[in-house]
Symmetry: C2
Subunit: 146 residues, 2 copies
DNA sequence: GTTGCAATTGATAATGAGAATCATTATAGT
DNA sequence: ACTATAATGATTCTCATTATCAATTGCAAC
């Protein structure tokens, strides 16, 4: 099976940390690569069946996080959801449906992103806070729920 | 002891839900009113000592949430933090220190807030999502940590 | 392609934030 | 004050996540 570009990038990063890219980890990366938003360990486990045991999913996500391959999201109650880090996917934001709870990725166009960054910078200047990142979450009703 | 304006608003809202504003709950509301950012049950408990038992703090925060008196925040790992709902405090955003983890309220001026709302509306239109709220979180180094 | 060995696995136990229980107590309206 | 009902708080329960550890696997050197 041919190695995808995503896998190649992840493998390189992991090698720098002396972390092995095993079969189960490859499977996880593929699943995260296909996802349309951040996924919890339970989400991934139900998608992958017993291909990768839940305890291994938790451990691998944690290893990936330490290596900067995935980013955790805490924006919903009781569960942590993970997605590929932005150096792999590009910077983006999230829509959260207040009705059904789905979290969906959105990329916004450069004009809006530039405006947003200007707002963030100005706020940082105003209050002596040094921004390194920002997250705009929009809560509302998704297409299915409106 | 004279009843503060905040307490009066909360009492009215609770009465509409047939929820009593007891001594412990009054104490909690006061603590939340003084806070400079969202606080966890444990935060509140350590601030209030055994004045209000931890299990009561959890239950009261949950009751307050149902009545729309407080809002939960999930943006940090492993704990839920609560703050007074925006109809009591005014709309605002949050700074999260990537170093020490402190979460701090910020009100941004009307010009920036208007720009932000315009961005949110435009995104909603683009992707057929109906926004009801938004949250801009700025991650960076707080004054103490830079 | 075998070998050596550190990294990984996966079943299971431990942890910890938060929710549920329930007998007792406090609250508010009459 | 009396009563009906809501709240309390010590305790137990739940469930997402982490830690453990003996068995297995990946990888690089030979
Ligand atoms: Mn995302
Ligand atoms: Mn706040
Ligand atoms: Zn929805
Ligand atoms: Zn800080």
């Amino acid at each position: 099976m041919a190695q995808t570009n995503l896998e190649r990038q992840v493998e390189t990063r992991l090698r720098e940390h002396e972390i092995r890219l095993t079969e189960g980890r490859r499977t996880l990366i593929q699943a995260l690569g296909k996802a349309d938003g951040p996924k919890s360990a339970a989400d991934l486990h139900s998608r992958l069946g017993d291909q990768v045991p839940l305890s291994s999913i938790y451990r691998s996500l944690s290893v990936f996080e330490d290596a900067g391959v995935v980013s955790p999201h805490y924006s919903t109650k009781g569960v942590t959801r993970y997605e590929l880090a932005e150096w792999l996917t590009g910077h983006h934001h999230h829509l959260v449906c207040v009705n059904c709870g789905v979290v969906e990725d959105i990329e916004i166009d450069d004009r809006l992103e530039t405006q947003l960054e200007a707002i963030v910078e100005e706020i940082g200047r105003d209050v002596s806070f040094a921004p390194v990142d920002h997250a705009l979450e929009i809560d509302g009703n998704c297409r299915q729920c409106q």
